[in-house]
Amino acid sequence: MTEQSASNSLDGNAAAGPFTDVFGFDVSTVLVTCGGCRASAVFAEQRAFLGGPGTVLRCPGCDHLLARVVQTTDELWLDMSGSSCWRFPLEASTA
């Protein structure tokens, strides 16, 4: 019924900042597996939606919500429930 457009999204790099704030290192090379269609892609190749009002990461293949981050006054909230796996290259997490 609906046709979806990528016109209002950015690539995952645009969302790397808020997620990097959570993990403490650059997440752009982390391999994220979609909990919907099971496709895997590095964080930088996922789809980002910014400021609406949090930061949202979606699967480029099926638009499934992978993860989101919200910064409140005194907390960072992280929801990864839409992704089945995050694989962190050791060089990224120890850099």
Binding site: M1, T2, E3, Q4, S5, A6, S7, N8, S9, R47, F49, L50, G51, G52, P53, G54, V56, R58, D63, L65, R68, V70, Q71, T72, T73, E75, W77, D79
Partner: protein
């Protein structure tokens, strides 16, 4: 009151500079001053743009395929087609809108059907609703915040149809709450006897979202 007004003007002038939007406020020359300046809720800045913020892809829904369904707490469903909705009495709305990301836009003009109209003949004991959108977005509201002329199913903006990037063909308009409550691409309400959090309300944002009380985040 004078002091409070002056404080708000200071905030507005400061935020206007931060936004690179010079000329919103002219102070000290006896020149033009925005008459609406004191109308900004705390922590908000004035914008003349209409920022587009979404949690997901733009939803393109042809009005021939569009429908709006109210589901009661007992499971009864009432559905309106686009033609059904266009047949309802509609009205013009002029209102200020306030986004939790701190922009406010004053004097926006909309056209739509009051939420009262579609709830009028629905039998329910519910006190809450969950608004649903094409694309899966949800937001929760107490019924008292959408009745008595406080909310609309809006399909017109300025003097034309509501643009798709702003939620067309139809969005919820609840201007007295932060704008994440005014769900784009609306396609239904589920009436609830107990409150449940929507997409942002369950994830860091305030359950109610009154900009005048600065109800931005969980715990505010």
């Amino acid at each position: 009151m004078l002091g409070e007004g002056a404080h708000r003007l200071d905030e507005l002038a400061r935020s206007g500079r931060e936004d690179g939007d010079m000329g919103i406020i002219t102070r000290g020359f006896g020149g033009r001053r925005e008459p609406e300046a004191a109308a900004l809720p705390p922590g908000q800045y004035l914008t003349r743009d209409f920022p587009v913020l979404t949690a997901g892809p733009t939803q393109y829904v042809d009005t021939a395929d569009w429908s709006f369904t109210i589901t009661t707490e007992t499971g009864d469903r009432t559905t309106w087609s686009w033609a059904d909705l266009m047949a309802l009495t509609s009205e013009d709305i002029e209102t200020d809108i306030h986004c939790v990301t701190r922009w406010s836009k004053l004097g926006t003009r909309w056209h739509g059907v009051p939420v009262d109209t579609v709830l009028e003949h629905i039998e329910t004991a519910a006190d809450y609703l969950m608004a649903h959108s094409y694309g899966g977005y949800t937001t929760n509201l107490p019924l008292e915040d959408v009745l008595d002329g406080k909310a609309w199913l809006a399909y017109g903006y300025a003097d034309g149809p509501l643009p798709v990037e702003h939620g067309g063909p139809l969005r919820l308009l609840v201007p007295h709450l932060y704008f994440w409550k005014s769900a784009k691409w609306l396609n239904g309400f589920t009436l609830l006897t107990s409150d449940e959090p929507g997409f942002w309300e369950g994830f860091g944002y305030h359950n109610h979202g009154d900009p005048w009380r600065e109800e931005r985040y969980d715990g505010d």
